[in-house]
């Protein structure tokens, strides 16, 4: 009878576990559980060892800590690549000289500008040609402005995103600390907290997508979370204490935010450059990297091009003579930044086509116009060696193109890594309905058998009791 009753209890627990599994088949992060049955210690009856039934030793969860760590690491990479990819997709149209709509890029406006000077060389007195030089100059300036402000807008966007990412991460850090408390309490009572641990694992994966972290389970059941920025990463969660990210405007970096971490121990540290250089950056690190490194590189390339162009055109233009004898006049306002470029002259007479004063030497003098037009084919000493303005721009555009391409490829690769790990995870920890249904059937049968055992026992007892009557 006792054996039958222990079996009934054990099978009921097993049924409950199967029920829990089936109920959570689609719960993200849920690992399937198994009731581990164990025979009870046999007792000696008449000197013979006799079994005394079954008990549930434990409810185990199918969990692979190695896989969990890999998922956390893969999320840190994938969060970074998807951020980088979407930012590069925003930058790409600015430099897209090969778009089917013919918009974007600088190679067209730059070519048009120097072509206008060529036309002027063919007809140095022509008002229409002079006007064309001015308006192509203005269009070139506009193109520089569009690109420069587009890049600055991407930086601003990235900066704004930091608020949402850190808010999200702070929330997740608090939840991990709260779960730590509950799990530790459960373990202290000697019970298992399988579902809570699943929740915590899943939470850490999502956190890692936001900010690259590494997580370590302590012997007391709590999880310690640290920034995945190499050895000595800042601790974010320790026991029941959660750290928090905060943002602080940095005036020496265009007023963009610096990312600070207030650790569980209360010490605050600035992790901006640490995150921007991390190889497992998460969204946060990649956002900083795009804002402070990648976009800045493109901007400085653009500024170098603008500055060289302005300087060279000004030198050539101011050495020549306008139609009415003006000389020493700059074409562009001198600047070293693409954002501040502007055309300095507004009168067509001031466009210097002549190499000597046209009022005495004749207005047909086109020598200076030719010198300006020839700048298009002149190599200047710029970063990356001696190259023409067009060549420098093309290589800058190539850099952006390679950036876009590798961002796309990295993102695809990170996504497929995550997919593969998730497949492994569902294979290892996921609930299989077929399996649960089969278990259910065998448990049902075992339950029926145990019940039968009790019926037989009862009948035997009845027989004995009948004899007494």
């Amino acid at each position: 009878m006792d054996i039958g009753s222990s079996a009934l209890t054990a099978q009921r627990v097993a049924l409950d576990v199967a029920g829990e599994n089936i109920a959570n088949v689609n719960t993200p992060g849920y690992s399937r559980q198994t009731a581990v049955l164990q025979s009870q210690i046999p007792v000696s009856v008449n000197g013979l060892p006799t079994g005394s039934g079954v008990q549930v030793a434990t409810v185990q969860r199918a969990y692979d800590s190695f896989l969990q760590n890999q998922l956390v690491a893969a999320n840190a990479v994938s969060g970074g690549t998807s951020t980088t990819n979407s930012a590069m997709q925003m930058i790409q149209p600015l430099f897209n000289d090969v778009s089917s709509s013919g918009t974007g890029g600088l190679s067209g406006p730059m070519q048009d500008f120097f072509s206008a000077w060529q036309d002027l060389a063919s007809n140095p007195q022509g008002v229409a040609e002079r006007q064309a030089v001015l308006s192509q100059g203005q269009q070139l300036v506009d193109a520089f402005h569009t690109m420069s402000s587009g890049l600055t807008a991407v930086q601003g966007n990235m900066n704004q995103n930091l608020q949402e990412i850190t808010a999200d991460a702070n929330n997740q850090l608090k939840q991990v600390a709260a779960l730590n408390v509950q799990i530790q309490a459960a373990q202290a009572q000697g019970t298992q907290a399988n579902e809570l641990e699943d929740q915590r694992n899943y939470l850490v994966q999502q956190l890692s997508n936001n900010v690259g972290v590494t997580a370590k389970e302590e012997s007391n059941g709590t999880m310690t979370v640290t920034l995945a920025t190499g050895s000595g990463g800042t601790t974010l969660v320790s026991g029941n204490q959660a750290g928090a990210f905060s943002l602080q405007a940095n005036t020496s970096n265009n007023g963009f935010y610096d990312v600070l971490v207030a650790g569980p121990d209360g010490a605050t540290s600035n992790v901006t450059s640490q995150l921007a250089g991390s190889s497992a950056p998460g969204s946060l690190g990649a956002t900083l990297q795009m804002r402070d490194v990648t976009t800045n590189n493109y901007l400085s390339g653009l500024n170098e091009l603008a500055s060289t162009l302005v300087q060279q055109v000004n030198a050539a233009q101011s050495g020549g003579y306008g139609l009415t004898g003006s000389t020493g006049v700059n074409f562009f306002t001198p600047t070293t930044s693409a954002a501040d470029m502007s055309v300095a002259i507004n009168s067509t007479d001031q466009v210097a086509a002549a190499s000597t004063d046209p009022t005495t030497g004749g207005t047909g003098n086109n020598i200076n116009a030719q010198s300006v037009a020839a700048l298009a084919n002149t190599a200047f000493s710029m970063t990356g060696g001696n190259m023409t303005l067009g060549g420098f721009y093309t290589s800058l555009m190539g850099q952006v193109g390679v950036g876009v391409q590798s961002a796309t490829q990295n993102d695809d690769q990170a996504t497929s890594t995550i997919n593969q790990l998730n497949n492994l995870w569902t294979s290892n920890s996921g609930v299989s309905l077929d399996e649960e249904l089969t278990n259910l059937t065998s448990q049902q049968q075992a339950y029926q058998g145990a019940a039968k055992l009790i019926t037989v026992g009862t009948q035997m007892l009845d027989t004995i009791l009948g004899m007494i009557q």
Binding site: S115, Q118, D434
Partner: protein, 294 residues
């Protein structure tokens, strides 16, 4: 490997997504006609395309320059041959007047004729194209020869770039042509001398001007030769430019254009794969142990 319901459904989802991504790329290629429509598609090809497109644009600009130079030179050429005609008439008249005897009336008629020829020479020297005086050097917005035939222009010739680093002289200054610049003979002074010699019947002086006439004629002839060779260079430059544009556009097309046949056939393949994947996954997820348990 253990397979669960979610394993299969995740796999189906991932694979369908891969097929759709490929389809998306192919559809973009077929609708734009470009294999490379963004620099990230193929950065190396994009750089080449931009370089080649810049080259094409430059060649087109040079073609415009060549057109401008051609019209200037054609105009100059035709006025130079008219100058030759004038000089031939002058020479005939001078030869005629340098021998034999003529009365005052004949001399007056010859003077009148020569004056007219000089005026013709002045007006040919003031030939215009679109308001530009061809022989004025850099001072080409005012007539280079005044009514007396004095040259007011400059000795410069306008260079026009017809290929990177290559220029042609698109104008020839009246200074070297008719005004005696560069050690030549001043045609207008020669005409004045001739007219006064004919007026006074000074046959020695007329004879002396004959060699000057020849000298001016050869000045015009050599200018014509120069203009002719410039025009030849323009013709060559034009055909070089056209050839290079054709070659460039072919290369750009190879780099940038989508191969329609390939795209359409790939697209059909992907669509078939997509349909097969959907049909198969629908079949797979229909089967469950639940159907067999009662």
């Amino acid at each position: 490997m253990r397979v669960t319901q979610n394993t299969s459904s995740n796999l189906v989802l991932q694979n369908l997504q891969v097929i759709q991504q490929r389809q998306d790329v192919l559809e973009q290629e077929s609708s734009t006609g470009y294999r490379v429509s963004a620099i990230g598609d193929d950065p190396a090809a994009a750089q080449q395309i931009v370089r080649l497109n810049t080259q094409t644009a430059a060649t087109n600009q040079y073609a415009r320059n060549i057109n401008a130079a051609t019209s200037l030179l054609t105009m100059a050429n035709s006025s130079m041959s008219s100058m030759q005609d004038v000089l031939t008439s002058v020479k005939q008249l001078a030869v005629q007047m340098s021998s034999g005897t003529y009365n005052a009336q004949d001399q007056a008629a010859a003077v009148q004729q020569l004056t007219q020829l000089k005026n013709q020479l002045i007006s040919l020297g003031n030939t215009q194209l679109n308001g530009t005086y061809l022989f004025g050097g850099f001072k080409n917005d005012t007539p280079p020869f005044d009514t007396t035939g004095a040259f007011t222009g400059t000795a410069d010739s306008t260079n026009i770039e017809i290929a990177p680093g290559t220029s042609v002289s698109a104008t020839y200054s009246g200074s070297q042509l008719l005004a005696g610049g560069g050690g030549g003979v001043n045609a207008m002074a020669m005409m004045d001398n001739l007219i006064s010699a004919v007026g006074s019947g000074d046959q020695t002086q007329i004879g002396a001007q004959l060699s000057n006439i020849d000298q001016v004629t050869s000045q015009v002839t050599s200018a014509e030769a120069l203009v002719g060779s410039s025009m030849n260079r323009l013709t060559t430059a034009t055909s070089v430019g056209q050839d290079s544009n054709l070659a460039t556009s072919q290369v750009v097309s190879t780099l940038q254009d989508a191969d329609y046949l390939q795209v359409v056939s790939d697209l059909a393949k992907q669509q078939t794969a997509y349909q097969a994947a959907i049909a198969a996954s629908a079949k797979v997820s229909q089967v469950s142990l639940l159907d067999y348990l009662s």
